[in-house]
């Protein structure tokens, strides 16, 4: 999830979700960065409407946890 938190941090800060930016943030947090992962994350993020996802994230119900009986 580190990569995701780093991306959201940048997104909220209004910065570009580029490989360099994500890498810099991760490194500042002391995370050993995997370039391939960053690359594929950046590519995947490009195809997502993050604003919309964030909006829905809090609105949507979570899948009901297996309600313990």
């Amino acid at each position: 999830m580190e990569y995701i938190y780093a991306s959201l941090l940048l997104y909220k800060a209004g910065k570009e979700l580029s490989e360099e930016n994500i890498k810099r943030v991760l490194e500042a947090a002391g995370v050993a960065v995997d370039d391939v992962r960053v690359k594929s994350l950046v590519a995947a993020l490009k195809n997502i409407d993050i604003a919309k996802v964030l909006e829905q994230a809090l609105a949507a119900p979570v899948a009901a946890a297996p309600v313990q009986a």
Binding site: M1, I4, S7, L8, R37, A57, A60
Partner: protein, 292 residues
């Protein structure tokens, strides 16, 4: 064998040869129970499965001999090959063929003396039948009726038979008059064979169950993918949502106010205050604290 074969008439020998040919040509066969299946349904089966299978009505003893001829032990089929049997020879997936056969249904009228396997309901409404002798038949079956505009109306949905009941002549005639062909005729498969014997009850797949399994499996994969934060298009929105939710929960719990968390923080504070108020009001009702 030759001594035995000689005792058969020519047509039987021909039938045997035919069956042996089919067993050699096809590696799969399915055996259906013809008992009580009308010829019209068999006709439909033959027609609908024409591209899938070769169909034969077989005599048990003859089929057993044919099986033996091609090296299949007929012993396993001993209990299955009683009565009237229809056999489908195919090279297709036996489960697939079984589903096709199972899905061919002919609707027919219940005949007097037959047992029903389901509840029969005479629906409320206009029967189109003029009052007269039929009125007393309705009466006999305890179906409430009223006559309107010279036509018998059924007053309300009425159960006239439960599973296991025997159909009376009166009920049979009313079902006919009302055009209610409620009896589902479908061929019961006794078994299939595809290198090994597959019992009839295993042949008809429960597709819904597979659907649920596919759903469960895809959900399993999604759970793992979300947990790993796999950056794939179908997973990433879920991962982002998860992160947002976690961040929001943490912000709320920390009382960290931003324009987007302020409502949630307030709610969390109020919820906690309400919880405490509830406890306090129990111990000190004299405070008159209003708890939601």
């Amino acid at each position: 064998m030759s001594a035995v074969a000689r005792t058969y008439p020519k047509w039987k020998t021909e039938q045997l040869e035919d069956l042996v040919e089919l067993l050699k040509k096809y590696k799969v066969f399915l055996i259906g129970d013809l008992t009580g299946v009308p010829a019209s349904h068999v006709q439909r089966l033959r027609k609908k499965l024409a591209k899938t299978a070769e169909v034969r009505v077989v005599k048990p003893k003859l089929f057993a001999i044919a099986l033996e001829r091609v090296g299949i032990d007929p012993e396993a089929f001993k209990d299955l090959l009683t009565g009237q049997n229809i056999v489908f020879f195919t090279n297709e997936n036996p489960f697939d063929v079984a589903l096709k056969i199972h899905n061919i249904v002919t609707m027919d009228y219940y005949k007097p003396g037959e047992k029903t396997d389901k509840e029969i309901v005479i629906p409320e409404g206009n029967t189109g039948i003029p009052p007269g002798p039929m009125l007393s038949v309705f009466g006999k079956l305890k179906i409430q009726t009223k006559v309107q505009a010279n036509v018998i109306h059924v007053a309300k949905d009425t159960v006239v038979a439960k599973p296991g009941d025997v159909i009376s002549p009166e009920l049979s005639s009313i079902l006919q008059k009302l055009g209610l062909a409620l009896k589902e005729i479908r061929l019961r498969l006794k078994a299939g064979y595809d290198g090994i014997l597959i019992p009839g009850e295993s042949l008809i797949l429960n597709i819904d169950q597979y659907v649920e399994m596919v759903k469960a499996a895809s959900l399993d994969a999604l759970k793992i993918a979300v947990e790993l934060a796999v950056p794939e298009p179908e997973v990433l929105p879920l991962v982002l949502s998860k992160a947002v939710r976690q961040a929001t929960a943490l912000a709320v719990e920390a009382g960290y106010v931003t324009p987007e968390t302020v409502e949630l923080v307030l709610k969390a504070a109020e919820t906690k205050a309400q919880a405490l108020a509830y406890e306090v009001s129990r111990l000190a009702p004299e405070l008159g604290i209003e708890v939601k």
